[in-house]
Structure formats: C-alpha cells, structure tokens
C-alpha cells in the first residue's frame, strides 16, 4: 500500500473513533441519569411538595415555579423580540438596525452569571422586585432575546420577496402587510425561535440563583421567590447531604423536558428548512 493510503486509513480510524467517543459520552450521561433517577420517578414525585429540604417528597411547587418563570420570560421576550426581528429583516441595513444587530450578537455571548449579576441589581434592587419569579423571568427574557430574534429574523427573511411586492401592489398598509403577509409566512421561524428560547431558559441556573431565589414553597404570585428545577438540582446535589436520589430524579425530569424541546426545535427547523441558530 502507498503511504497516502496508510495516512488515509489512520485518518478514517480517528474520525470514526471521535464520532463514537462523542456519541458514547452522550449515551453515558443519559444512561447514568436514567439508571439513577428512573426509580424515584412517579406521578407522586411530580406533584408532591418537597419534604426535608428536598430529600423526600417531590417537585410539584418547583415545576410550577419553573413554568411561571418561563411564562414571564416568554411574555416579555416574544413581543420585544418580534419587533426587533421585523426591524432587522425589513430595514436591516441601516445604521441603527446594524447597531441593534451588533448589540444582540454581543448579548448572545454574555455569560449567564453576568446576567445573574445584572438581574440582581436591575430587577431585584433598582426596580424593587426583590428575589421573585418576575425578576427571574425578566432576567431570562434578556438572555433568550438574541436567540429568539435570530430565528425570527431568519423566518421573516424566508418570506418570498414577491409577496411583499404583491402586498405593496395591492396598496396594503404596512400594518396589514405585517399581520397578513409577513407574520403567517414567518411562523415556522417564530416557532423554532420560541422553542429554542424555551430550551435555553429552562436550562438556565446561574442567572436565577440571585434573581428568583431558592424558596421551594408553592408560589402564590409572581412577586414570590420561586425555585426553578435547575436550581433544585444544584441545591440538592451541593448543599443537601443525602439529596442525591431526588437530585437524580429531578435531573432526569429536566433533561427529558429539554431533550424533548430541543428535539422538536431541530425537527421543526429541518422540516421548515429554517437554519438553526
């Protein structure tokens, strides 16, 4: 065999080995969590109150808090992000639009702990929300904004130019064009952006430690502190000796939810031919 052939074979072996390694690590992580957590999982676990600082009982109030934080996050990020995406796709070459785009690019890279610091100062202290679900949700809204805007913008750009021209030829107002032509056409991109945003927000921990807090009671309003599922896992595994069993089960719940969300995002994206992230 020629030398080039040997190099080719070695390279092929390395390439295959690295792929096997990556898929293997994924299987290892998921397998570990399933083995450790599936025994504790039950309907009762999902609905019960945590007892004994989480060692016993379930995650009912924690799931509710997580849902509320996500709801606040989306209710804020979606309208603002939608407006930004329309501006970027329809007037994306001007000075101000370029500034918005650049600033969102930077925002996408900001570390989550820095969002936590900012949320703690701005929402908890300056706006006087204290440690609350509202403060946590708004902090996460800042965080998912660039993700949502990016997908939504791709969605708007995917609407064929002819439709805009047709709308203009019919003397449709900008408002009508936006709501009747652009929004329906961009729907796939919006859905993908929404799903990716939920995936990112649901996975977040560091930004919530100092904004939504650790309280594991059932929240009564958005002004209450509420513990997200990710924080529950962190607290059980780091601060509660003997909390590993329920930490496993909570990690499995969170992982399952997020894999489901992210899988549907990438399936939707490939179905609608929208580029991911």
């Amino acid at each position: 065999m020629r030398r080039g052939g040997v190099a080719d074979g070695v390279a092929a072996a390395m390439v295959w080995a690295s792929a096997v390694l990556v898929v293997g690590v994924f299987a290892w992580i998921v397998g570990d969590l399933v083995i450790g957590g599936v025994g504790q999982l039950s309907w009762a676990f999902l609905t019960a109150e945590p007892l004994d600082t989480g060692r016993a009982g379930g995650v009912g109030p924690i799931l509710v808090s997580t849902g509320l934080i996500l709801a606040v996050c989306l209710a804020t990020a979606v309208p603002i992000g939608l407006a930004a995406a329309v501006v970027l796709s329809e007037a994306g070459e001007g000075f101000w639009a370029r500034g918005v785009r650049r600033s969102l690019d930077v925002l996408a890279g900001v570390p989550s702990i820095v969002f936590g610091l900012f949320g703690n100062v701005f929402f908890c202290q300056v706006l006087g929300m204290g440690y609350s679900i509202a403060a946590g949700g708004l902090t996460l809204a800042c965080m998912v904004l660039p993700i949502f805007v990016r997908s939504a913008e791709v969605g708007f750009r995917a609407v064929p130019e002819e439709r805009r021209r047709a709308a203009a030829a019919l003397a449709m107002s900008r408002t009508t064009t936006l709501f009747r032509v652009l929004l329906p056409g961009a729907l796939p991109g919006l859905v993908v952006g929404l799903t990716l945003g939920v995936g990112r927000a649901g996975a977040e921990t560091a930004a919530l430690i100092f904004t939504s807090g650790f309280v594991d009671r059932m929240p009564e309003s958005l002004g209450d502190s509420g513990r997200a599922l990710s924080i529950h896992i962190f607290d059980l595994s780091m601060n509660v000796p003997g909390g590993d069993g329920n930490a496993y089960a909570s990690a499995l719940v969170l992982l399952g939810l997020l894999l489901l969300i992210n899988l549907s995002a990438s399936l939707l994206a490939s179905r609608f031919c929208v580029e991911r992230s």
């Binding site: 792929a19 898929v23 702990i113 969002f115 936590g116 904004l145 750009r157």
Partner: protein
C-alpha cells in the same frame, strides 16, 4: 384609525422593541460598571493583582488564582474539544453514511441543549468519584476541563461543519481530480478553506467555556489557589471567576460585592472581545437579501 396613523404607530412600536433589544447590553454594561465603581476606588487595580490572597472579609482581593483557573480550564477544554470537534464535523460531512450523519448531528444538537447544571451533576456523581479513585480528591481543574470540553464540543463541531460545507465544491472536485485521497483533500484543501469558520467556532466555544458557571462550580472543588505543580497540578481543586461569583454573591456587601462585580465586568469584557474578534472572521449569516424597505422605512 386611518391606515396611515396605524402605520406610524406600528413603525414606532417596532423601533421601540428593536431599541429595547439593542439597549439590554448597554444596560448590563452600565449597571455592572456602576456597581463595580466603588471597588476601583477602595481596592484599586493593584489590589486585585498584588494582594496576598482572596480574603474579602480581611480586605484582600487577589483575583489572579481565579483568573488563572478560568483561563486554564478554558484552554484545556479547547485543546480537547477543538480537534475532537473538528474530527466529528469531518465525520458528519465526509465519512458517515447519510443516516449516521443525521443521527450524529442530532446527538450534537441534543448535547448542546443539555443544561449546564445537569452536566455539573453528572460530573459530581460520576466523573469526580472516578477521578478521585485515581488521583484524590477528584474535584479538580482536570474534572472542570473535561466537563467543559464535553460542553463546548457541540459548538465546535456544529459550527465547523457549517464552515466545511461552505468550501466551494469546485475546489474539492479539483483536488479529487488531481488524485488526492480523501484525507489529503480534507487536510490540504477543505480544512484550510474553512479556516475562518473554524476559528470563529473555537472563539465562540472559548466564550462559552470561560463564562460557564454551574458545571465548573460543581466539579472544580472551589479552593482558591494557583493551579501550580506544587499543589497537584491539574488534580488540585481550583475556583474559577464564575464559580466565585455564584458562591459569594449571596452574602457579599460593600467592597466585597463591588469586587465581585469587577470580576463580572472582566468576564463581560473577555466575551465581548471574543465575539468581536469572531465576527471579524466573517459571520456565517447570509447577507444576500437586500430589502427595499417594504414594511419598515
């Protein structure tokens, strides 16, 4: 309302939303500087570098060990995940049969979506005990590096693959027509052609690694010390800048709190720098659509 008034309101609303999105980063920077300001006066730049140790209650604020820990963990993670990610990207684009490539890509996307706290938890219950049996205590710089490598690998692989795919097919076919074997085509033509995109991928991965909090907080052991060879090298526990913020923010006040915001500002500056350099290499965003301003002025 007449359509014209409607349109004016809409345009104003849209720009308001866009402005709000654009100003978040400014707000973050502004408030971080505002909160960090007192520390520059009380501690001064020299204090962060020359103080004897990090003991905020005694007024000592040396951040160098934590900066080094952050940089070493990031560097190690990139050294591992960079080549590996590139190989996986090559696998998806060139070696794998189509269905296998699709599955691998899905696995990468799912890995990218696994929450950092879950990586941290897995590291804590699986990786750290494993390392601890080999070289105690287990919770160490090495554990953090390994976890970070797994976490940033999808970023490197997915972005590199996109970059590899952008190399013009004519070049690839030309190289093949010259009789180059598959690896030679890749190594001499495709990978050099995708250099910019691969560099962007690595820079973004670096940003993700240095900003990562939960996973390193859970597996690194959180002892403030220089990760030197006298203290056990990669097997010694360390504390990164991000972990330090997460650990101490809850009870910090006064100069201590300000000092934490200074470290937050440092992280922000590093990431802004990385993103800035990455965008120099050319963003993968397509720019072929030129709008004529049909909907917005």
């Amino acid at each position: 309302m007449s359509p014209r008034v409607n349109d004016t309101v809409l345009t104003a609303g849209l720009w308001l939303g866009a402005g709000a999105s654009g100003s978040v980063v400014l707000l973050i920077g502004g408030f971080l500087v505002w909160e960090a300001w007192p520390a520059f006066g009380e501690i001064g730049f020299a204090g962060f570098v020359r103080d004897a140790s990090w003991h905020p209650s005694e007024g000592r604020f040396n951040v160098v060990p934590m900066v080094m820990a952050s940089l070493l963990a990031m560097g190690g993670a990139l050294l591992l995940a960079g080549p590996l990610g590139l190989l996986v990207a090559v696998f998806c684009g060139w070696y794998a049969p189509r269905p296998v490539a699709v599955v691998t890509r899905r696995v990468l996307e799912l890995l990218a979506g696994v929450p950092s706290v879950v990586y941290g938890f897995w590291g804590l219950v699986t990786l750290v005990p494993l390392l601890g049996r080999w070289r105690p205590p287990g919770a160490s710089l090495l554990a953090g590096t390994l976890i970070l490598a797994v976490m940033v690998l999808p970023t490197v692989a997915l972005l590199s693959e996109a970059a590899l795919r952008q190399v013009p097919g004519a070049q690839v076919r030309g190289a093949a027509a010259l009789g180059l074997r598959r690896w030679a085509v890749l190594w001499r033509v495709v990978i050099p052609g995708a250099r910019g995109g691969i560099a962007t991928a690595s820079l973004l991965a670096a940003g993700r690694a240095i900003g990562e909090t939960m996973a390193v907080l859970m597996v690194c052991g959180n002892v403030v010390q220089l990760p030197g060879f006298d203290s056990g090298g990669p097997f010694a526990p360390v504390r990164t800048l991000t972990a330090n913020i997460a650990l101490e923010m809850g009870y910090a006040f006064g100069a201590h709190r300000s000092a934490l915001f200074v470290t937050g500002l440092m992280l922000l500056a590093v990431v802004v720098g990385l993103v800035g350099v990455a965008s120099r290499f050319g963003s993968p965003r397509p720019r072929k659509w030129v709008r004529q301003g049909v909907a917005v002025g």
